[in-house]
């Protein structure tokens, strides 16, 4: 009976990668000096499940390497070896190697044999070096070990009688009984008998259900843990071990023989065992669908190394099973779209009901009000499905900082806060690389060497701070450091050298700071492999802008610098301010709005008889008359009658002149491109409650449109 294992490959790779992430974070905690047996257990479990999985799927190189690693980890786990920084380093590199091995295997590429061999040799070297005295007790191994038995009482060759009744789900869980038998054969002489009496007639046979049971006699002086390890991917309950020969007298075999789990219904407390205890054989004979308890968990991570030890077994169980399912994002997007449509239909209904009168109309409206509430809840729940905590991105930084710090000889400390802040998966996927750039920049350019820091009266450890929080309808992520701050003189000199700034031009600190977002701008004196090639900040800025977010940089010389990123919570829904110009209604993304003011005559200056600027808190901002830009008939043409909405994009602020502010609401973004084409100045369109379409302004686009508009009209004005 064969099973196409290939269908499980993707799941295996995905789970292994997640597992490696947790191994890495556990290792980093270890390196931070936190030695605790649960951390080591976590690391061990990861290595172990990857070994098991890759052996099952025939990825022999991965299995061989992880096996060595596991041996080393086992010594740690048993407390035979002490954790030291060098060891953690090797383990971290092993983690990387496994990750690249898995990636190569998944892509069906050849593996890095040299790297694997080198690291394997290193691990072997560590294994051969004398292990130190145990430094901690790990409650992982069962108290009763066969080794404790007295060989004097032996009669005949020692060995184990194994009853293996795996239950119908075995194959579906990806385990292969043949593989298990083969592995047993490696431990000692195996004599096995198959019990096939529960195999149903051919017509009822489900090829994916395992209805076989085995009785196996394994001869040889074998430790129980070794046998348990072979069966690790299987529910502990379906394996019954019984020693014979020398081992027999040592252990009360019933300790290892819990009643088969699939017979008992789920109960919080184990029921007093009925007498006599049913044998596993009877268990299998009972109908498979008898109780929900028959459902076995995926072995994956939840199968602990030493299943026999109860305390360590329950914790990982709870950890590994979050009751989650994997759903393709497309399905969620479809759901989002449908909900968006519902919300629009809802507001159409509200408007239809509004003018009605009478008792029924009142009831209709209250029912509609209820519907609206439910609709909003539905929309929020669907949105939340797409939301993930930012910790999934932040988690890769401790490693980055550790490695960079070592390489650059800087002492670093990472402080993370707000890692539970949630944001849209799409945003999350695209925010990782920009953050890596920013952190690298902070470490390379910002944080000084320990000597410089001490001389400047700071502690030798540079602090990198990652902070995420919600603000209004957006998520703010800050990357800060307590380093030297931006070097204004050097940036200015560089900008002048590159012709970005005229030699005599004086710039505000803010403008100088923003120069580093120019393409090809780097002031690093030496181009290191970390940064300094001038690709980076402009890419960071572009990526963030593409997400509908903004980047700002703050710097205090000698005290450090901070980059603040504002991101929309989601890409599908936007918090918008409705604004009217003439009869047209536009949606302005609230993130872009700084403030809206009524203009006083003395604030406005007209330059060259046409272009107008407003003086606002020591700054002059250009006034963009939306009705002129969009060629529509406004209600007001006098600046004093309408409103001026100050908007900001890319560090540039302009005032948009409009007639009236309307409500603020969340709008579902619809593409203009699907049936039309993109238009500069508009991010898309949305449906209003009355069924009308409103265009969503794209502030950077409006500003660039305004600039080209101005230049295009210049000659005409001169002629007039």
């Amino acid at each position: 009976m064969t099973l196409d294992l290939a269908q499980f490959h993707d799941t295996f790779f995905a789970e292994s990668n997640e597992a490696l992430d947790s191994m890495e974070s556990a290792l980093l905690k270890l390196s931070a000096g936190e030695v605790d047996s649960e951390l080591i257990n976590t690391i061990f479990r990861v290595a172990h499940s990857i070994k098991g999985g890759s052996a099952t799927f025939g990825f022999t190189e991965v299995a061989a390497f992880t096996h060595k690693l596991e041996t080393l980890l086992d010594e740690l786990r048993a407390g035979k070896r002490r954790v030291d920084p060098a060891l953690v380093d090797t383990l971290l590199r092993s983690c990387d190697l496994m990750r690249s091995m898995l990636a190569a295997t998944q892509a069906k590429q050849s593996l890095d044999a040299a790297g694997t061999a080198a690291l394997s040799a290193e691990i072997e070297l560590i294994l051969e070096s004398p292990a130190e005295a145990p430094t901690m007790r790990v409650p992982a191994l069962p108290a009763s070990v066969p080794a404790a038995s007295d060989p004097a009482t032996s009669s005949g060759p020692p060995g184990w009688r194994i009853h293996f009744a795996p239950g119908p789900k075995l194959l579906r869980n990806g385990s292969d009984p043949l593989r298990i038998l083969r592995e047993l054969a490696r431990l000692g002489a195996v004599e096995s008998r198959v019990d096939a009496k529960w195999v149903p007639p051919l017509a009822e046979l489900d090829p994916e259900e395992c209805r076989l049971a085995w009785s196996i006699e394994l001869t040889g002086d074998i430790k129980e843990a070794a046998i348990r390890a072979v069966f690790e991917w299987v529910e502990a309950d379906c394996v019954k071990l019984e020693p014979f020969g020398s081992a027999a007298t040592a252990i009360d075999a019933t300790v290892m023989m819990p009643a088969p789990k699939f017979l008992e219904p789920v109960r919080p407390e184990p029921e007093p065992a009925p007498e006599p205890k049913p044998a596993p054989e009877t268990a299998i004979a009972s109908p498979v669908s008898a109780s929900p308890a028959a459902t076995m968990l995926m072995p994956a991570l939840s199968a602990p190394a030493a299943a026999a030890a109860a305390p360590s077994a329950t914790a990982p169980m709870a950890q590994g099973d979050h009751g989650s399912i994997r759903v393709s994002t497309e399905k969620i997007d479809e759901l989002m779209n449908s909900v968006g449509e519902l919300v629009i239909t809802q507001s159409v209904l509200n408007q239809l009901a509004a003018p009605l009168e009478g008792r029924e109309a009142h009831e209709l409206r209250s029912a509609l009000g209820q519907l609206e509430r439910h609709m909003r809840e539905l929309q929020e729940s669907v949105m939340r499905v797409r939301m993930l905590p930012i910790s999934s991105v932040f988690n890769r930084f401790p490693r980055l900082i550790r490695d960079l710090g070592q390489r650059l000889g800087k002492k670093l400390e990472l402080r993370i806060s707000g890692e539970h802040t949630e944001l849209d998966k799409t945003v999350l996927e695209k925010i990782g690389d920009p953050l890596v750039h920013l952190i690298r920049n902070s470490i390379d350019h910002g944080i000084e060497t320990p000597e410089v820091r001490l001389a400047g009266g700071k502690s030798a450890h540079g602090v990198i701070q990652l902070h995420a929080y919600h603000k209004g309808g957006s998520v703010v992520v800050e990357v800060g450091d307590d380093g030297g701050g931006l070097n204004r003189e050097r940036i200015l000199a560089k900008a002048r050298e590159r012709g970005l700034v005229a030699p005599e031009e004086e710039l505000s600190d803010e403008r100088v700071n923003n120069l580093i977002f120019q393409p090809g701008f780097s002031t690093a004196e030496v181009v290191s492999d970390v940064s300094g090639r001038g690709v980076g900040m402009d890419v960071v800025k572009r990526n963030i802008n593409e997400l509908g977010g903004y980047v700002q940089i703050y710097s205090t010389p000698g005290k450090g610098s901070m980059v603040r990123i504002r991101l929309p919570l989601t890409l599908a829904i936007l918090d918008g301010q409705l604004a009217r110009v003439g009869t047209e209604v536009y949606v302005v993304p609230i993130v872009s709005i700084v403030e809206t003011i009524q203009v006083r005559a003395e604030q406005v200056s007209t330059i060259a008889n046409r272009a107008q600027v407003i003086r606002l808190r020591d700054d002059y901002l250009p006034i963009v008359r939306l009705h002129e830009l969009f060629d529509i008939e406004p209600e007001h043409t006098d600046l004093l009658d309408g409103l001026l909405m100050i908007v900001e994009a890319d560090g540039t602020r302009v005032g948009l002149f409009l007639d009236e502010l309307m409500s603020q609401q969340q709008v579902v973004i619809k593409s203009l491109e699907t049936n039309f084409r993109p238009i500069t100045g508009f991010a898309g369109a949305t449906m209003l409650g009355d069924g009308r379409v409103a265009l969503i302004l794209d502030v950077p686009g409006v500003i660039s449109r305004f600039r080209s508009h101005e230049t295009r009209h210049d000659p005409a004005r001169e002629a007039a």
Binding site: E341, T674, N675, F676, F682, V693
Partner: protein
Amino acid sequence: MLSTHDKAISAHQQVLTFRLAGEEYGLGILAVQEIRGWTPVTAIPHAPPWVLGVIDLRGVVVPIIDLRRRLALPPAEFGPSTVVIVLRVSTSLDDRTVGLVVDAVSDVHDIESSALRQLPDLGSHAASEMISGLAHADGKTLILLDAGRLAHSTSAPAAH
């Protein structure tokens, strides 16, 4: 010249006919999604002059084309018989929905492929690239339009 889209169904095709400035026009019925009354549109700044704006068609943003202007015909007031023919044209590349404003919808005609005639060369004229051919039915001449070109003409850059 016939487009491939029309050739495939040309052995015996059904054509929705409509009036526009006194002439009878036709569109392959397979491209017609629905016919709806005129509803106000949201104007799009800097769009080509024949794009009146966009409407919300069950959650999809659909551009509305003034067919008179597209074919360089004199403009007319919108009256009670003014309707919007919603076209949906699928190609291997995309799937486009546009609405065409016409004076009034008249009829559905069966047209044999033998009755189709090519448009004679009239020199360069804004309308001719949108016309797939001519046909004679019920004693009238029908001007057959190319749905695919109409639907995609909105994506061409605007002429200043």
